[in-house]
């Protein structure tokens, strides 16, 4: 049986998704929260950003890059 879940997930949209502009606007705040707070608290405080990063590859790439850069210079 073909698994169509990948297409289903691709087409599914999360109403909490804030979009690239808002997510990137506070990405530095989000990253500091991820590094400083207990796991999940950043996503808990900014669920719209978490929803966006889960759906947008380029913004998630920026998030991962900023996280790594900040960690590396800590």
């Amino acid at each position: 049986m073909t698994d169509w879940s990948a297409i289903d997930r691709f087409l599914a949209t999360d109403p909490r998704d804030v979009g690239c502009e808002q997510a990137l606007e506070i990405l530095h705040v989000y990253v500091d929260l991820v590094l400083d707070d207990s796991p999940g608290s950043a996503a808990g405080r900014y669920p719209g950003v978490a929803a966006h990063l889960a759906a947008c590859g380029p913004c998630d790439e920026d998030f991962q890059g900023l996280l790594r850069a900040t960690e590396a210079t800590s």
Partner: protein, 249 residues
């Protein structure tokens, strides 16, 4: 600490851990941690103090640009002097942006995290622009036949997924606006990276993402209405990113 001694801004020495724990109001009334306050003070100073801080910040940005381009190495074919040149461009442009927006730093994060964001964005933009120097996708073909592979469908199940792919094709033709179709085809079928499409369409990431977001919603509704997909979407959780960052080889 003297401005010239401002290094990464985050070394875990006893002194600056203590300093970072204390929020200091700066000249504009912002509550900054000690390290961030030192950066802002030095960058807003004049003469040698500012020059030294700028040099140190540029050094950090260049290091991060190089590291980030290396981390994304699987997504672009750039190597050698061209790669290092791109890192230098990203660091220089980020430094320019940072100094121009210094008054916009509100102390909501460490200064360095805020500053590093600019160089990460510059790397993304420059990779998007670089894509068009040697595009690796066929821009004149819609390549619907490749859709199953993009979504990991088993070729052996061709008879089963063909109906869904045909239905999706019809939905794209019948339900999307010209712009939505253009974006969907470029990103999903042709594999154009979103940041590269931004350059081509002279748009911005948010606008392109929003266009694709609306297209996805329309397509899902159309497929659900025809019983190809369930009616209840399950967003978030383990869903793959919608716009994958693709390897360009």
């Amino acid at each position: 600490m003297q401005p010239c001694e401002v290094s990464t801004g985050r070394e875990a020495t006893d002194d600056n851990v203590e300093a970072a724990a204390v929020l200091v109001p700066d000249a504009d009334g912002r509550q900054l941690d000690g390290e961030s306050a030192e950066w802002i003070s030095a960058l807003m100073d004049s003469g040698l103090v500012r020059d030294q801080a700028l040099a140190r910040l540029h050094e950090l940005l260049l290091r991060i640009a190089r590291s980030e381009l290396g981390r994304r190495g699987g997504q672009h074919p750039i190597t050698g002097p061209e790669l290092d040149d791109l890192a230098h461009q990203a660091a220089a442009d980020a430094l320019l942006a940072i100094t121009g927006k210094l008054s916009g730093f509100r102390g909501e994060s460490r200064f360095t995290t805020w500053a590093y964001k600019f160089v990460i964005f510059e790397v993304s933009t420059k990779l998007g622009r670089h894509f068009w120097q040697k595009p690796t996708v066929a821009l004149d073909a819609e390549e619907w036949d490749r859709l199953p592979d993009r979504f990991g469908m088993d070729p052996a199940d061709h008879s089963q997924w063909k109906g869904l792919v045909d239905a999706l094709h019809r939905a794209v033709d019948e339900h999307l606006s010209v712009r939505q179709r253009q974006v969907f085809v470029a990103i999903v079928l042709q594999g154009v990276p979103l940041d590269a499409l931004v350059i081509q369409l002279e748009s911005n990431r948010n606008a392109i993402y929003k266009t694709l977001f609306d297209a996805r919603r329309k397509l899902r509704a159309a497929l659900a209405a025809n019983d190809y997909l369930g009616s209840s979407a399950q967003p978030g959780a383990t869903a793959p990113t919608v716009v994958e960052t693709r390897r360009r080889t």
